[in-house]
Assembly symmetry: C2
Homo-oligomer: 319 residues x 2
């Protein structure tokens, strides 16, 4: 009997870690999650992760051969195989490749979740066949993966693709990174919430969002209010798209992508975010780039996208 080749894809998050087995065609055969328990030492985490991944494979009842392990994690360094000072995790510096080598002999590769998403889109999603594109993840933060000449750009240090920390307004909002005016402070889930509060302060427009506290408000509430025609909520998407589009025009001037793919929480708002982003980007583009660059939503299966992206790290290298 020939064994079916699979890659273990792992997405390490601040709260939970998802793992799953993915075949060469991007089918996620099985997937489940464990709590990350990020306050515990990293060693314990990797031990639990291994036990969990082994049990997951056993559930499949044999017939599979593991080709490698791809990991998406915050502040992951592709070159060094490490996680360095990750936000939301108490681990200061973890040699992930070394930790995994205690349990596995197959190749292990890791990168941040946005880079993994870009590889996922390239192998299994909206960027199939593209050689030049950018994935922007609009979630708790704003991440990005930049692909040029068919290869993900890791840069000299392994940390390339931090478009969320390009500057929109150097006198603007304080960002989670401590600086002022990063794109992330505007185009993330918390960014659009901040925009709603700014708009509620500026205008007298009635809005259902005026009954919700800052702590309670979520991007999902803003999305649903916008669908119901709430003017403040709709304007918040308009403002977010305007700012995102302006900064994307700068990105186009760097790598001239065929498409920019929006991925993650806020991107699920579809045309509410894509339409103003596209309009603003076109206005801000140098003439030679106008009407060329598509802005499209992710085409990864929603539930498995993180694991597929992580697995794509290995499948891309085995290609």
């Amino acid at each position: 009997m020939t064994l079916k080749e699979v890659v273990l894809g792992i997405d390490i998050g601040g709260t939970s870690t998802v793992a799953g087995y993915v075949d060469r065609n991007g089918a996620c055969i099985i997937e489940d999650l464990i709590p990350t328990l990020a306050h515990q030492p990293a060693d314990q985490f990797f031990q639990r992760l291994h036990t969990f991944a082994k049990q997951l494979l056993e559930k499949l009842g044999g017939g599979y051969s593991l080709r490698g392990i791809g990991i998406g994690a915050p502040n992951a360094n592709y070159y060094k195989g490490t996680i360095e000072s990750p936000p939301n995790l108490s681990w200061d510096y973890v040699d992930v490749k070394k930790s995994m080598a205690k349990y596995y002999t197959v190749p292990v590769a890791l990168t941040n979740d946005a880079n993994a998403a870009a590889l996922g889109e390239m192998m299994f999603g909206a960027a199939k066949g593209m050689k030049d594109f950018i994935v922007i993840t609009l979630g708790t933060g704003v991440g990005s993966g930049v692909v040029a000449n068919g290869k993900l750009i890791y840069g000299a240090d392994g940390f390339a693709g931090e478009l969320g920390h390009t500057i929109y307004d150097s006198n603007g909002r304080i960002c989670g990174c401590g600086r002022k005016g990063c794109l992330e402070a505007y185009a993330s889930a918390s960014g659009i919430k901040r925009t709603v509060f700014e708009l509620m302060a500026k205008s007298n427009e009635t809005s259902e969002l005026r009954d919700v506290s800052f702590h309670q408000m979520t991007a999902k509430m803003i999305f649903e209010a916008a669908l119901r025609g709430d003017v403040i909520a709709k304007n918040a998407f308009e403002v977010t798209g305007k700012i995102l589009g302006m900064k994307l025009a700068d990105s186009v001037a760097h790598t001239s992508p065929e498409a920019i793919i929006l991925f993650g929480g806020l991107a699920q708002a579809g045309d509410l975010i894509i339409e103003p982003t596209k309009r603003s980007m076109e206005e801000a583009l140098l003439n030679i780039f106008q009407n060329k660059v598509k802005i499209i939503p992710s085409a990864m299966p929603e539930g498995n996208s993180a694991v597929l992206g992580a697995a794509a790290l290995i499948w891309n290298e085995l290609k």
Copy 2:
């Protein structure tokens, strides 16, 4: 007798066109120029260019074998082998590869002058051995060539690397491209002149530059005044570096280069421009990128840099 292999490097400019023969080690064996006469039809130009290049080769007295022709030109498209709506040239659309094929059977490649400069630095200059770097040309305009994973980024359409047209201030100066606030309107030779005029308007500081008209003033005059301690001139370099550094921080967030190489007229001011650029970039960088990215001057022989860059287009492909 074995023939020595050479590449013909050509740099097409608005006023004159330089051509020279370059060996594999980046030695420019012979180089000369002809007027471009950009008001004449392109066909006539390519005929004159061919005659000129043939005579140049004959001057060497034999012993050389031509491996290819590399061309740097404004708005040149690498993929299509064309020049499209070039500024300062009356040719609307020229199929350069086809025009050259009338006279030559060797491979012909072309790209814009900034991309050619980047390849030149990679093969023969300051970026030898680097896989991730950016070249910024600070001349009449601001151009750029971005290299990642050891390859120049042409992008989906062949026009990638227009960092001069990323936006510094969307309500700022009118740029030559018709839009507002492009980096080029601040960090080019005419940009620093505009800054001098802004500073002269704002302050009462005495300055030798107050005796020079806008039309007469050159970046070289500003440089020389700065060397003599002129406060307005020195401040103009400070302001230029501050703006350039801020925008370069955004570029670092895209591709995380090992170095950024400053090339062309304004870059010859050395530390006067490099020091404030570096300081401003470091201030604007996300923490993970701080103290990693070198800003260095071009290391191409000044007189031959355009021809070497153009020749590098071919030598890079023969590598």
